[in-house]
Each structure stands twice: as C-alpha cells, then as structure tokens.
Symmetry: C2
Subunit: 294 residues, 2 copies
C-alpha cells in the first residue's frame, strides 16, 4: 500500500509520502510516490500517487511528457485548475486503455492522486483526484488530504491541522501521522519524501528524503511513543464507584446501565430463579438503552 | 459502521463496543452490539458483532435460542472452543439461508464477531470469528482483536496493550482507542458498552454503558486531546540545517536527498540551463534513492 498526506496552509503547502509498494506480501519493493514539477519563478507542483502502481506510473508518464494538440501541458497551464484537469484527463486516458484488461483479470482500476502547488499569479492550491478523473479541492475547513492507508494517521491530523499553523509544525504533524501509520501497518515503509513549499516562492523551499538514519524522524518516533505512553499513564484509571452521577458503578445491575443479556433457556438448571420465557426479540425491546425504556 | 475491541489479559478480559448502526448516512440508528451470556459460577461469555445488522441479529438469535439435536448449546458447551464453534456454525447457517439473496441484491455477506469469556475449569479465551464461520484465537503476542472501523484506534493499542497490564488500564486504553475512532469517523457513535471480566470470577465483574453524560469518558476525551496537543507542541519542529549527518538540509539539492523531478520539455523557454532529453524511465533510473545510485 501507500500513505501520502498533503496540507494547504496559509503559509504554503506540505507534502509527505512513503515509498513502499507491494503486490502481495511476498513482493514488496520501494517506489517513490512523489514527483515534482518545478520551473523556478513560474510554477512548483507536486504529484503523489496511491493505488495500482502500473496505473500510477502511466499517469505520471503522460503528465510529464504530454503536450496536447492545442499546446497545453502542466508546464504551461495558466492555473492549477487547468493543470489538475490535465491530471484527470491522464487518469481517464489510462482507464480507457487498461480498465477492460484489468477487469478481465479481476483487478479493480484503483488509483488516487494528490496534486498541489502554485502557478505564478495564483494562490497555493491542493487537489485530490479520484480514479474516475474527477477531483475535489482542499479548503479552509478541510485543509488536508490523505491517500492510501489513511486511517491510522488521521486522528493526529484532526487534532492539530488548521490553516493557520506554521509550515514546520505542519511538517512535524505529517511525520507523526506517518509514524503512527508505519507502526501499525507493514504495507507502509521508509524512506519518506517530505517537501515543504513556502507560498509565493515558486520553487521547492525545503525537501528531505527520510530514511532509518534520519535523526529528526528517529527522535519523533522515539519521543512520540514515550510521551504517548507517559500521558496514558497520567490519565487516571476508571473508578468503579456506585455513584448516581456516573454510570461507572460496581456492577451496573443496580442502575440503568446494564448489559444486554441473552436469557438462558428454561431447561437449564438455573438455581434460585426461573428464567422468563421471552423471545430474544422481546429481550431487545426491554433493553434499557432502547428509546422505550430510557 | 461499528467499532469493537476486546483484549485477553493475564488478569481477565475487557470488551468495548459502540452502538451506531447505519444504512447509508441518512439512516443512522442505535443498536447495542454487545450481548452477554452469563450463568454465574458456571460461565460468562460476551459476543460483539460488526457488519451487516440483519446477519448479526440472526446470528445472535440463533446462538441465544438454539439447542442442537445432540443437546449442545453455548449454555452447556464444555469449553470455549466448543462454544465458539457453535458461533461459527450459526454464521454458516445464516449464510446458507441469506447469502444468495444478498448476492442477488448486490450485497456482500459481511459479518465479523468477537466472542470471548470463560467456562468453569478453563482459562479465559477470546476469538475472532470471520464471515466464513472460521475463527482465530487471541494469544500472548496478539492479545487484542478489533472489528469494524479498527484502524483509527489501532495505534494506541499497539503502543500500550500487553498481556501483563492491569484490567483497568486496559479499559482506559480501550476507551482512548474508541475516542480516537469517534473523533475521526462519524459512523461510530455513543453510547458505548464497556465490560470488564476478572479471570475466574465466572460472572460479569464490572459493566458500564457510557453516554455523553459519563464524566470519566468526558475527562478522557478532553484530557487526551489536550495532552496530545501539548506533547505535540513540546516536540521540536524540524531544523532544516545543512549537516552531513542529517538529510534535513536547506534545499536537498546539495546532497543525496533530492526529490524525483519531472523534466520540463525542451521546447519550454527554460533560462540558464538546457533540459536533458531523457525519457521519464531514464529519470527514474537516475533517482538518487535507487539502489544503483546509493
């Protein structure tokens, strides 16, 4: 799989990608998923891909090389909207050529692309392109996009990222999000490509390929894990008291808080009480959490 | 969707489930996914379900009511292995009845079940039952199982859970894992059912239904978010220095650390340098991260 994240902030853009690719767990290799289109002073654009590697490479190739009959390409598109349309067109071209053959082989046409950057005269923009070639744009309320194995690393983004945070803080957040993903999913792997773009610079501002030797990422990896464990320990354990202002009581059966129970059948030798002969449907209706009972 | 997590620890078992169910975003309701089979002094078993709600309910009903022709049921199974086999059988029975009709309607036969507990004379055991009715058991190296929307809440489990942690610490960890999931995925929702089982007690040890008014969960929710933000702030931002022992340098182009670039076509008016006329395939081969170049 893959994990890539990109953010559009007031100060600029941040892009981070891993580099693991696999066809089954016995065929794992490295492919860098970030491709930079830079014409200093005129435009700086970044494309990151997830999904089927052959589709991704075909799209990259078309975008890098292609000039349309009318002379347009990402290298001279007037704005990011025109540029991302060309990316969508490239996805559709690959679909037209490959989708039927893939389908015949039982393989889904699966690709998703993050495409962002700045063209002179315009603001920074960031897009998520779907496998159908259509796309959406990041905005102030939704300043980041993820593709690939996105779920493990989403909680920290949701807690930290807003358009106003500084670029380096955003880069740090992206790296922590990546670290959580690496920790929990073997299909995502080092090295990472991290690119930071300062708005209106119209060239790559900062870039790093991060491998196991990178001290900063190693520090994040170690520190984040330790500190997380530490704040976990600092949060008190639940107190199972019998208090009416809390549902945490010592066995739950004295209050509204009770588990849904299956009733043992009447034929069982159940001492001290007769099991009511209700059907499970009635049992569910008597559930203290159901609207009738609350 | 759903999120459920269960842990098998030296001290006992912990179960946590949410209660949101939805058929599309415009049909959201509450269904408690935890069902308790308790015969105090003899057995205490918990079943939690994720996936298609109709399948889940059918399996619950069969398990709760059914006595096989040979007189066996979960209420008198000699051990947890026999009991979980009955759960698997129930899944297969529902499959036999419903799978074709579901398939005709374009719906996948989708269910997964956590089933754990203790029967007198045996240790605590925990199983994950698949839609095919087969199952795996938790063990010392893999002491927890998740079903449903599992990815958001997995990183904290991977960092904290081991068989030796106390039950209340495990319950706290499960709640934090759930909090991260609630924060990032609208298809998981309150109230929660939390059940803690002390080994060899053969009855429900502690239980709580947790809704928005629960003070402990509210404290976890607030504190965890704040403290996470705080340790995030305490980790230093990246320093983009030009040091040979770090790949974080000010633009990456002076070192091995450089982005993969698309080459602008020769026809573009590129001042100061002539673009090499290489194909993108050659470009990839020149990638400084490739084995040839490193």
């Amino acid at each position: 799989m893959t994990y890539c994240v990109a953010m559009r902030l007031d100060q600029g853009l941040v892009f981070l990608s891993d580099s693991r690719t696999n066809a089954g767990v016995d065929q794992v290799s490295t492919f860098r998923k970030m491709l930079v289109f830079e014409r200093p002073g005129d435009r700086m654009m970044v494309m990151m891909t997830a999904g089927n590697l052959a589709i991704s490479q075909a799209v990259r190739q078309i975008i890098s090389e292609r000039t349309n009959d009318d002379g347009t390409s990402v290298w001279n598109a007037a704005n990011m909207f025109d540029a991302v349309r060309l990316v969508g067109d490239a996805v559709r071209e690959v679909h037209q050529r490959d989708a039927q053959a893939l389908s015949d082989a039982g393989i889904e046409f699966n690709v998703s692309i993050l495409f962002g950057g700045q063209i002179k005269g315009e603001r920074c923009r960031l897009f998520l392109v779907y496998a159908a070639g259509n796309f959406i744009e990041a905005h102030a309320e939704g300043p980041y996009f993820q593709i690939g194995e996105s779920k493990y690393g989403k909680p920290i983004l949701d807690r930290v990222v807003s358009p106003t945070i500084p670029l380096d803080q955003a880069a740090k957040c992206a790296l922590i999000s990546m670290d959580s993903t690496l920790r929990s999913n073997i299909s995502v792997g080092l090295p990472l490509d991290l690119l930071v773009y300062e708005a209106n610079s119209l060239r790559v501002s900062r870039f790093s390929t991060i491998d196991t030797k990178n001290q900063y990422f190693q520090m994040i990896h170690d520190t984040w894990g330790q500190r997380l464990k530490q704040i976990f320990d600092e949060i008190p354990d639940p107190q199972w008291e019998d208090r009416t202002d809390s549902q945490l009581n010592d066995n739950g059966r004295r209050h509204a808080s009770a588990p849904v129970r299956a009733f043992a059948p009447a034929w069982l030798d159940t001492p001290k009480k007769i099991m009511p002969s209700v059907s499970p449907l009635q049992t569910l209706a008597e559930d203290p959490m159901s609207p009738q009972a609350r």
